[in-house]
């Protein structure tokens, strides 16, 4: 067990855990930030996507000991970013969700995309969102919501 300091959604947190624990399980079980989801544990589904210094990252693959002083943003904190707010509203307006389990990860991937590219093409969207699974198959509405968010940000 090791005591580790991390910066989550703008707050400094101190936890004592096995340093090999993936960031995902620290967020969910130690910090009770359950909006970040476990889907596969091998970085193949994207449900656990968070931002590390703004970059979309699979939190199931990152041991908490390697996070260091990078800023972590989760779905619970992404609305403090104007792009995050716009994307979440676009999700509601376009009635994207079904079961909703993958959607935190989808939204975190979209926000990371729109931060670097305000006018994503279909190819950009497929590339950036290509690792986020949705078993309900909400992909058509995800595309529409990304486009409407991009329009609102233009």
């Amino acid at each position: 067990m090791t005591t580790i300091h991390i910066l989550v959604n703008g707050e400094r947190k101190t936890i004592t855990v096995d340093p090999s624990t993936p960031l995902l399980w620290v967020l969910r079980e130690e910090l009770k930030l359950t909006g970040t989801k476990y889907g596969c544990g091998i970085g193949a589904c994207g449900a656990c996507t968070v931002h590390l210094d703004g970059a979309g990252t699979r939190s199931c693959l990152v041991p908490v000991s390697l996070v260091g002083d990078r800023k972590i943003v989760t779905i619970e904190g992404v609305a403090s970013d104007p792009i995050g707010r716009v994307v979440q509203n676009a999700w509601v307006d376009n009635d994207v969700v079904q079961c909703g389990y993958c959607q935190s990860g989808q939204i975190m991937s979209v926000v990371a995309l729109l931060k670097s590219n305000r006018k994503p093409t279909n190819a950009n969207i497929e590339e950036s969102m290509g690792g986020n699974l949705c078993r309900c198959g909400t992909y058509v509405r995800i595309r529409e919501a990304i486009k409407s968010a991009a329009e609102r940000l233009a």
Partner: protein, 716 residues
């Protein structure tokens, strides 16, 4: 004997209620009229918020928005103040037609439409009664709008003010329902009530629940289904900090066993599980093998099985010349449901009572199974049902394995809330799959290019055979769930036979969204397409010609699709359009898919869909379900869309080996068109799933000249 006769007989034999699911006529006709107590379904808070209880689990299908819409319509409730809650297990929340609490067969709206309308109307009548008495006027002089009762002299009182008085009044036996012309919510595209919570991370799924003192349990399961622990060494596992206990538990109904690891946290439980040293006894269980199963199934498909349907002359096919005959053999693999939220369940066993938090699709039998293991009467278990991260049939197990597993762990860990989680590596190779199936069809083509004879053999494990559900879904050892989509086809084929073989295999199987239609519709629709091409006919016109004149919904869906898919006559080069028609219970739908080949894979540029599902309660949900259901159906086409076994062991462990569709694999755009109707609403959620795979391969056939009869599509 056609499908309808088949089931009417079985219903009579069992006196069954559950069989109603598979009747072809409106099921509400079967339901005994019952007055449901509004207080179990509607709670009007002093704040004006109206909580409406939803009588089945929400897995994404949208029932937790549509059922409140129906109730709120008749209640004249202020929709902006409506909150949906999923009801716990209780008799009052049983499906009014089926007679058990359940989610399956896409029955929710069809069966609870009348029930929720009446609940809304009764609640409204009680509120009016309270207001009218207070104003000394007759109830008929009052009207309601937006959660307010208005009196004849412009008196007004809010539902919140009236609620307490109203709740003490007798429940009216008879209530007047609205004329559909007065609807303001039903039929209006309405966003989901859970859209915001599911977009900001605040929606709690059962895997997110946290209780003081809660422990996480993982199971080390046998590498071959229903194998047994001979002995195990847990010394290394117990050295992992946070591990509380390690012990053996029986698996479903004593078939095999597993080792349970209980720890403070998930990561500790997983690390400890990885350090277990288990000696498995696999000597008593069959080691299923896909290669061996394939040859066994294909061999069986060349012999006539138990006759399920026989119309006209079954031997007519034998007199058809070889040049007028198509012989087609099909293979379908096992498929995992792989809902995004891995299976999980939480249970606290207090000895004389217990409390569970789950997302059961069939809570009655699942709670009963848990009770059996705990040695308690079922009504001593408070059984909470919540929001699930997908299900697709996976949370409706008929051997209740998950409930039995958690009960076996909690029985030993008394007083401690136990959250049992199946990791993805438990889920993908964990069984309970859509069955592996082989079909063999011989079709005779008449001089007019239409099928004159059709002899069809289906080979696959039964899903309900040997379970308590057998009497409801199977008769004489023939399971309807394996042949639906063929046995009930509305194509008018004069000489038509379907027969069935149900081999037993040591791989547990389960309903997978759209059940038998997932493979039967593929077989029928690819063959019909082949016939249309052979006749040089337009694929929609050909189907309209072949569909029975009485199949009004099929005809309406095809005609609307024809009208909305004008784009298929102006396709870009190297694109082709594929058509498919599907029935799912009483709903008919048809689609046109614009497909090309990119990097050796099908690229689905656009799909137009027409659906005839009776009255559209929430057209936005129907659009959503069709868009998503088509993508779900693409699972069948994925290069890695198969579960296979070698010497008893499943080859795939996670999403790297069993790969469902990602955004690029799914249709890029889907336009959904609903046939206007005032008939009672019918199924939606499962209807789109069987459509997409045949539509796509019908397009591919036009691009490559090949016929695709084995799934998954490994190469084009």
């Amino acid at each position: 004997m056609n499908r309808r006769t088949f089931f009417r007989i079985s219903a009579a034999a069992t006196g069954g209620f559950l069989i109603g699911m598979y009747f072809d006529f409106p099921m509400s006709a079967q339901a005994a009229p019952k007055v449901y107590p509004p207080d179990a379904f509607v709670h009007i808070k002093p704040s004006g918020e109206i909580v409406i209880m939803v009588n089945r689990v929400e897995v994404g299908q949208g029932t937790s928005t549509a059922l409140p819409m129906i109730l709120a319509e008749e209640l004249d409730a202020d929709w902006s103040k409506v909150i949906a809650e999923i009801a716990p297990a209780a008799d009052v929340y049983k499906d009014p037609v089926v007679g058990m609490q359940m989610l399956g067969g896409s029955i929710s709206i069809a069966n609870s439409y009348q029930q929720y309308r009446e609940l809304g109307a009764r609640t409204r009548a009680m509120l009016i009664s309270a207001a009218a008495d207070g104003w000394l006027v007759a109830p008929e002089q009052c009207r309601t709008a937006n959660s307010i009762v208005y009196g004849p002299a412009n008196q007004k009182a809010s539902y919140a003010e009236l609620a307490e008085d109203a709740a003490r009044r007798p429940i009216p036996e008879k209530v007047q329902l609205k004329d559909p012309s007065e609807f303001r919510l039903i039929g209006k595209p309405t966003r989901r009530l859970d859209g915001r919570a599911k977009s900001n991370g605040s929606q709690k799924f059962s895997i997110d629940l946290d209780f003081p003192g809660m422990k996480v349990a993982l199971l080390a399961r046998p590498p071959v289904f229903f194998g047994r622990v001979r002995s195990f060494d847990d010394a290394d596992a117990r050295n992992v900090p946070g591990v509380v206990d390690v012990f053996e538990i029986p698996l479903a109904k004593g078939k095999g066993s597993a080792v349970a690891v209980v720890a403070d946290r998930f990561w500790a439980a997983k690390q400890a599980r990885d350090r277990l040293n288990i000696d498995w006894d696999l000597s008593a269980v069959e080691h299923a093998d896909s290669g061996e199963l394939r040859s066994r199934f294909n061999g069986l498909s060349r012999t006539t099985g138990k006759i399920a349907v026989n119309r006209g002359d079954a031997k007519a096919i034998d007199t058809v010349g070889a040049d007028k005959r198509i012989v087609a053999e099909y293979e379908f693999p096992y498929l995992a449901h792989a809902p995004m939220e891995p299976l999980n369940i939480t249970l606290r066993n207090d000895g004389d009572r217990a409390e569970a938090w789950t997302t059961s699709q069939v809570p009655d039998t699942q709670r009963q199974a848990m009770a059996e293991v705990l040695g308690l009467p079922a009504d001593r278990i408070t059984y909470h049902i919540g929001f699930a991260g997908g299900a697709f049939g996976r949370r409706g197990t008929l051997d209740e394995h998950l409930e039995r597993e958690v009960a076996a762990v909690a029985k030993r860990m008394r007083g401690i809330p136990i959250k049992l989680i199946w990791t993805r590596e438990d889920d993908v190779p964990g069984g309970y799959y859509r069955p592996m199936v082989a079909h063999r069809v011989e079709v005779g083509v008449g001089d007019d290019g239409m099928p004159s004879a059709w002899r069809h053999v289906v080979v696959g494990q039964g899903i309900v055979l040997g379970t308590p559900f057998e009497s409801f879904y199977a008769k004489d050892g023939i399971e309807a769930l394996l042949i639906e989509g063929t046995s009930d086809t509305r194509y008018a084929i004069p000489n038509f036979q379907v027969s069935v073989h149900h081999p037993t295999v040591n791989v547990p199987v389960l309903s997978w969204r759209s059940v038998g239609y997932s493979h039967n519709t593929f077989v029928v629709e690819t063959l019909i397409d082949e016939l249309a091409l052979r006749a040089n006919a337009d694929p929609i016109a050909y189907r309209l010609k072949l569909v029975d004149p009485s199949a009004k919904r099929q005809r309406a869906a095809l005609s609307l699709l024809n009208e909305k898919s004008g784009w298929r006559n102006a396709l870009p080069p190297k694109h082709a359009c594929g058509i498919a028609l599907s029935e799912y219970h009483e709903t008919a739908s048809a689609c046109a898919a614009d497909v090309s080949i990119e990097d050796g894979r099908p690229r689905i540029h656009r799909v137009s869909v027409a659906v005839a599902c009776g009255l559209a309660v929430n057209p936005m949900t129907i659009e959503n379900q069709f868009q998503g259901g088509l993508a779900f159906g693409v699972t069948q086409l994925m290069a890695k869309g198969a579960i296979t076994l070698k010497h008893g062991r499943v080859d795939q462990r996670n999403f790297d080996g069993y790969t469902p569709p990602y955004i690029k694999d799914a249709p890029v755009a889907v336009d959904v068109h609903i046939v206007p109707s005032a008939e009672p609403p019918t199924a939606v959620g499962e209807c789109p799933v069987p459509l997409i795979a045949p539509a796509v391969v019908n397009a591919l056939a036009r691009l490559t000249g090949k016929r695709y009869r084995s799934l998954p599509l490994v190469t084009l």
